[in-house]
Amino acid sequence: MGSKAKKPFIVIVAFVMCLSMTGCFDKREVDDLVNPIAIGFDKGEGNSIRMTLQIAIPTKVAGGGDGGGGGGGGESVSFTTVEAPSIYSGLNMINTYVSKQLNMSQIKVVVFSEELAREGIEKYINALIRGREFRPNSYMLVARGTGNVAERYLRAVEPELESNPAKYYEMVLSAYRYTGFSANTSIINFYKNMVSESTQPLAVLADISQFENSDDINTDNSTYREKGRDYPLEGDFKAGDMPKVGTIKSEIMGLAVFNGSKMVGEFDGEETQLQLMLEGNFGYSFVTIPDPLSADNVVPLNIRQNRNPKRKVEIIDGKPNIKVKVFLEADILSIQSGINYESIDKVTILETSAEKFFEKGLMRMLKKTAQELRSDTAGFGKEMKGKFFTWDEWTDFKWIEKYPDSKFEVEVDFKIRRPGLMLRTNPATGTEEGEQ
């Protein structure tokens, strides 16, 4: 190429390169996009779905809490609900009346109604996984109840401490690390477990509070009676049943248990904590156990799981025999009875009692998964899978069909490490009854 032609050639090439590299066909001004942060699916008429989008209003979110403008979830978000034959056709319909183009890449939460979840959500999960804009780390929720519960839940979400509702979802749904009352149920984990031969999927339970004021509060829907307790502990509730009132109506607590793509049951808060312990994903949490020496009192502990559980699966007489050993550590938070559990001779009483408390809970929860739900939520199939040499041998074994016949042996190793800031509990002194 001659030197005269070289320069124009380079200019043309540079120009074409610039056009290509900026992706001019795909250019989308940030200002022309609208970002839904949550999507809800309810059952529609016939085969349709009713889809609700919770859309962040950028100006309000960016405004923060100035003059009370931000902060209120009702102000920083907008809602729309549409009935459509599929997710993408619904998005198309919404695009006709929303002034900006929908961009689903900021979706933090996907909520399915219980009705839809019980019918099976495989087709929706596949669509979400296939779509490039949907994030695999978005959380999966199931809204409890009948009717348009996903829509009802999303409309009830009114974050007070966050001006950014997306951040609210992230914070609330990652709180399982310090509450243990929900779990990391991302879409991708759900999908992997849905098609797995060795474990089953879970989703976080969501609902709105049933109590309007403090006088209405009751524990009628608590699960404590099923567990043979005289009074409810903090984990004996599912979302919507928590005995609380306040401006935040939305609740998440417990897990929806699936068999394949169909919801088959629920875990309450305590069962969710035990599920996390079995997986080795329990971070830390305040857990209340009954006082072993004083029936009317409880001992709140700060419990941690610092070691993964030991899990062993064997086949005895054609039935799975599952052995689990869970390792827990705790710090004492309070001793209501004033009994000196901090002392070396009494601490073992508390430890043994806690071990039995958790062993009983784990056994109850595991039997529920096998006999009632018929779903291997803890993924013991993964241990079993390792005993086979080839994939065909493993699939021919049909673990999911064998799991309901499982027998369980549970052991808990519980150690109290620290007494908090008090080394012993001194009783109150006085002349009234109950005081020394």
Binding site: M1, M21, C24, F25, R135, E170, K385, W391
Partner: protein, 367 residues
Amino acid sequence: MNNNITFGSHEAICLLITMISTKAILNFPSTMAKIGGPAAWFVAIYVSVLAIIAFYIISKLYSKFEGKDIIDIGEILGGKTLKILLGILIIIFLTALLSFYLRNFSEEMKTMGFAMSPIGFIMLFFVLGMVISAYHGIEPLIRFQSILVPITVISFTLFVIALIPSMSIDSIMPILGTGPYNIFVKGALRISDFAEIIFLFLLPPFIKKRDVFNKVGFTGLTICSMVLVSLTFSFVSVYPYPVSTDDLLPAYELARIIKFGRFFERAESILVITWATIGFMYLSTVFYFLLHVFGKTFDLYYYKPLILPFALVVMSISLIPPRLMNSILLEAETFRNLAWLIAFVLPVLLLIIARAAVSRKKRKTSP
């Protein structure tokens, strides 16, 4: 053709890494998963070992042909006729390779980030890169790779480390995956995934010395094996079988799940840039060698007039498959099942016959 350019082992190793390891970000991990199931990583190790053994045999046979590429050896053995035949075979091989990868890179780039852009437009983006680099010749291409490949390998290592929290050893069980037959018999054919080793047999005129040739081969193949095995292992331990078989873009899917707290996520946006860079390096190198082989086969002194016509031909061929699935299937099932014949069997046969011929000639000429 001008073969006065010489480069060292570092440059040649970088070239080999680009050519062989590129498929780690394409469909290599999911192809391994289709063959071996949970034992996909084992298939990757097996194929890598086979490729290194094959190269060991070829390097031994190559000992008498220092500084000669396989076209030169063909000429020594069968004169112009064999040289042209051999050259045409390699040209077909390189054209097919370039067409498949041009289409796949462009289509996958479209899927990842340019959904609205016409495929021809994205392809043009890569073709322009190929054309410009071909005009500048091999030296800037090699230099560019010698700088970028070490950076890419370090980034890749960080990428794999970032995936560790998402990995689960349970996912690679049962240990023999879909069974020994699939791993050892069907897996053996996947030695074709190392078919780009053919570039090493075109390099001797540029690297001259035999010990450099051996060093480049063994070091390059070892690094490539590590890259391919580690990414396959990461993939199947993050996405358990059978999920591992349904992903179009394994590396992209892996990047999408990387998340540290609330402040670091969407690592795939970095991958798109890396993807484009690797795509440029790969396609430009194949394109240059396609022109180089054509020029050498037909004794052309200048290759530059061939650049635009060849770019047009390659782009047209790459658009023949009506859909991406056809292109992937053709590359993964048909092309790769035959590529080992050109990349491994052909050089071995050629070298055995050529060695015999050279020895016989020596015996005849010696008193």
